[in-house]
């Protein structure tokens, strides 16, 4: 299977964003490995360090049939944004969005420390949805964290979101390739719960 037929644009630029501790880096690695094992060239750019300390965390994925690309996507050039946190979707769109970008957004907010202390306010969900809608060509809002809590671990919200991304069919991601990636490193019961989370994500898109 050769890459170019799998991608609507080459490179396809995906941003996964969220807050430190949400499993953003792991999600980007999973997606990267799923695409890489199909023979595509994947470049992932991410910042660690601040990743566990309440900061915004962004992973840039470039998917190409030709070569590695800059690990930083140029401004205004994202094709897809997967946001594990709604305000982070707005932050990313303002810098990397364009009229064609499509967005998958987990609707559970994580309040910045300035909001917790009362120095800042967190936007209303209505405003966030309005802004995200106006800055994208298509936006899906999903309750990934709630679904993950029902599965017993809120951090699985990242895999639910990967499932949702697969459900949009914008990138060639499927259950079998995720299973192959997971089975390399996880115990069978962990693989099972991760695949369930993935399935839930896929269904969330199909039912919208």
């Amino acid at each position: 299977m050769k890459g170019s037929t799998l991608l609507s644009s080459d490179p396809t630029n995906l941003i996964i964003t969220g807050v430190g501790g949400q499993g953003n880096v792991l999600a980007s690695r999973m997606i990267g490995e799923m695409l890489s094992q199909m023979g595509l060239h994947v470049t992932i750019g991410e910042t660690f360090g601040a990743s566990q300390r309440g900061g915004s965390v962004m992973s840039h994925l470039r998917v190409s049939s030709e070569s590695s690309f800059s690990p930083q996507i140029p401004k205004g050039r994202a094709h897809i944004v997967v946001s594990l946190e709604p305000a982070e979707a707005v932050r990313v769109l303002k810098e990397y969005g364009n009229p064609e970008v499509r967005v998958i957004c987990n609707s559970r907010p994580i309040h910045p420390i300035g909001v917790i202390s009362g120095e800042q306010t967190y936007p209303s969900m209505e405003d966030l949805k309005k802004w995200i809608g106006s800055l994208s060509s298509e936006a899906w809002f999903i309750d990934a964290t709630e679904a993950a809590i029902r599965l017993g671990n809120p951090v699985l919200g990242n895999i639910v979101s990967v499932g949702a991304l697969a459900g949009t069919k914008i990138l060639p991601l499927d259950r079998a390739s995720l299973a192959a990636v997971l089975e390399r490193k996880m115990s069978p019961d962990k693989v099972r719960v991760n695949l369930t989370a993935f399935d839930i994500g896929v269904t969330m898109i199909h039912s919208q």
Binding site: V42, T47, Q52, R53, G54, V90, I110, W131
Partner: protein, 648 residues
């Protein structure tokens, strides 16, 4: 994660730059690897440590970077291939030994990897270490993508053995912590044998004693320069120096490292492939003059793109001046004419903007209407996320007590800090407690100095903080200094049982080493007591006891006192995901705005696990974020926050 020691030749994998460097070292048959943890370098040693059994590599987290370089050098002197790994600031620590290492030269292939952090994504500076290669006269190579990160590492060992000196490989965050596809090479058979030969003459490079003395200096220095010329000759034909573009471009872009990817993207997005050519240099010191003459002759306009300071630019300009009778007068763009900024990391957009100016090409990523819509949302659409201590972090509790003790003492005492997660205590999440922040261990050195200023009228309590790993790395000499010179200071060791900030690497205070073997742990309180100072150990989660102990120490004023605050990091593998306490706010007890505490828990303590529920006028615990440390239960004056032992 891929088991790097198993994956077969010819297979293609998605590897992080640091994984690619580790695999490259394995393909070169490295026998000894040593480093000190530091973002973005740590995964190189971690991956080699994972492979240590299968590949028969001795891997250690050394006490600091200078010792790491010395440990690696001992292997080279014994004929083995060795690797030393550090981040940019570690190069400064290692530099004293590095000067002497390079002057004498090496035996077994020796590679020094420096992972740098342009833009200071995970550092307190964006310092450079490339100038060390020039200053201390050894070759410098810089991979431009993930495949090269592996290939150049393996090749650097050959180069080192060919010229008999250390070779520096420089990476940056956007390579080390980025990932790309890499085709693997072969892993050699393991058959290294160590033997340190020292019976030859003083200047015998392979069999003499390895000593740097005034008497032999000129012999050694001349030999060092010959080796650099030999490297330059190799670089003339290196496949890692690549030109792509038209035979006679309008503009020649000279670049290296991650900037290569930015330059390619910029040329492509501007559609300037017919006008601009890119010379990607993998060997950046010494610059090979023949190769440079050939490419500089292509055109009269040249743009140099690099991070951070104009190292490559300065060297190209110097060479161009020498070559000018042959290549003619050129117009150079880069840092010096401000085409490229002198600070911060670069990205494709910075290069696009330089190229679009120089080549006069219009570029607009998104339509004005979209930009306008985005701007209308304003900055509050995505409220800023200040970094903060994690939920359940012992440092938040420690600094709560330190801050309160200083307030209660009321003599304007202050705290000198250094590098670690606890650096965040310079800001609101650590109650603005740190008043100085420099390099590893510097808080204690500064405290030692501040503690001697009483005779000049500055008679205030002086405290310093350090982590457990930092204590061994650079605090020990400063502590000895303070003790010996009778400086009145309190050293707080925030012992969270690991090099937590960089991912729980081993350090001398722990019972397991990098390869997970059992080793003797050096006990911090015992070390301090042996040096004759008073030491107390407390659990920082016990706020009352911690504050009381610290206040007593501040009142003693009898030289150095040490307080070890011991509590495992909330993210450590043994603690992560396990809540000790179920924490709840009893909404009937929480008095909200009428309490008089002025929302102490959320406004001041500010743990991310706490939420202020405006509608209900009470605090609330976010059960998804709360780590169950239970500390907030001790700060609530109304006792509205309740904790009970969680079922295990």
């Amino acid at each position: 994660m891929l088991d790097l020691w198993e994956a077969a030749k010819g297979t293609r994998h998605l590897l992080m730059g640091n994984e690619a460097i580790a695999r490259g070292a394995m393909e070169a048959g490295v026998s000894v690897a040593a480093g000190y943890p530091g973002t973005p370098s740590s995964e190189i040693i971690e991956n080699l440590a994972r492979a240590s059994g299968e590949r028969n590599i001795y891997v250690e987290w050394s006490v600091n970077e200078k010792v790491a370089l010395e440990v690696a050098a001992a292997a080279s002197y014994s004929g083995l291939r060795s690797l030393a790994v550090m981040k940019q600031v570690g190069m400064n620590v290692a530099s004293d030994f590095l000067l002497h290492l390079s002057q004498y030269g090496t035996r077994g292939g020796m590679v020094l990897v420096s992972c740098e952090d342009p833009g200071a994504l995970s550092s307190t500076n964006e310092g450079e270490s490339r100038p060390y290669a020039k200053m201390m006269e050894f070759p410098l190579v810089e991979p431009g993508d993930f495949q090269e990160a592996k290939d150049m590492t393996a090749w650097a060992f050959n180069l080192s053995e060919e010229i008999r000196n250390v070779v520096m490989l420089r990476s940056v965050t956007r390579l080390s912590h980025a990932s790309g596809n890499v085709v693997l090479g072969e892993l050699p058979e393991i058959r290294a044998k160590a033997d340190f030969k020292h019976h030859g003459s003083m200047v015998d490079p392979m069999e003499g004693p390895i000593v740097n003395l005034p008497a032999t200096l000129q012999v050694l220095h001349n030999r060092q320069q010959e080796r650099l010329r030999a490297a330059s000759a190799v670089f003339e034909k290196s496949p890692f120096n690549v030109y792509e573009g038209p035979e006679r471009p309008e503009l020649l872009v000279i670049t290296s490292s991650a900037c290569t990817l930015y330059c390619r993207e910029a040329v492509r997005l501007l559609g300037a492939q017919e006008r601009a050519g890119i010379l990607k240099l993998g060997t950046t010191w010494p610059l090979p003059p023949g190769l440079m003459e050939k490419h500089l002759s292509r055109t009269d306009r040249i743009l140099i793109v690099e991070e951070v300071l104009p190292f490559l630019e300065d060297n190209v300009l110097a060479l161009a001046a020498v070559l000018s009778p042959k290549i003619g007068i050129k117009t150079f763009h880069g840092k010096l004419d401000r085409s490229i900024p002198m600070t911060n990391e670069l990205n494709p957009d910075v290069v696009i903007s330089a190229l679009s100016r120089i080549l006069d090409i219009k570029y607009q990523a998104v339509p004005d209407s979209y930009r306008k819509k985005a701007a209308e949302i304003g900055p509050l659409g995505a409220p800023p996320r200040a970094l903060t201590f994690c939920p359940g972090c012992p440092h938040r509790a420690s600094f709560w007590s330190i801050h309160n003790a200083l307030q209660r003492d009321n003599r304007k005492g202050f705290v000198c800090g250094d590098i670690g997660c606890y650096s965040l205590a310079a800001g609101a999440s650590g109650f603005d407690t740190l008043k100085t922040l420099h390099s590893m261990g510097s808080g204690t050195g500064l405290a030692s100095g501040f503690g001697k200023l009483a005779s000049f009228g500055m008679d205030r309590p002086v405290l310093s903080v350090c982590g457990d790993s930092t204590f061994f790395h650079a605090v020990l000499p400063a502590l000895v200094n303070a003790i010996h010179n009778r400086s009145d200071i309190i050293l707080l060791v925030l012992d969270n049982s690991g090099t937590a900030m960089t991912g729980f690497q081993a350090h001398p205070g722990l019972k397991a080493n990098a390869m997970n073997q059992t080793v003797p742990a050096v006990d911090i309180p015992e070390v301090c007591r042996a040096m004759g100072v008073a030491v107390e150990v407390r659990d920082p989660f016990d706020l009352e006891e911690t504050e009381k102990t610290l206040l007593e120490m501040m009142q003693r004023r009898n030289g150095v006192n040490v307080l070890v605050l011991r509590q495992i990091c909330a993210l450590s593998p043994e603690k992560k995901g396990r809540k000790r306490f179920e924490v709840k706010v009893n909404e009937k007890v929480c008095l909200g705005e009428t309490c008089g505490c002025n929302r102490l828990c959320t406004r001041v303590f500010k743990c991310p696990g706490l939420i202020w529920n405006k509608g209900e006028n009470t605090a609330r615990i976010d059960e998804v974020i709360c780590a169950g440390c239970g500390v907030c239960a001790s700060i609530c004056p109304a006792h509205a926050i309740e904790k009970r032992e969680a079922a295990s």
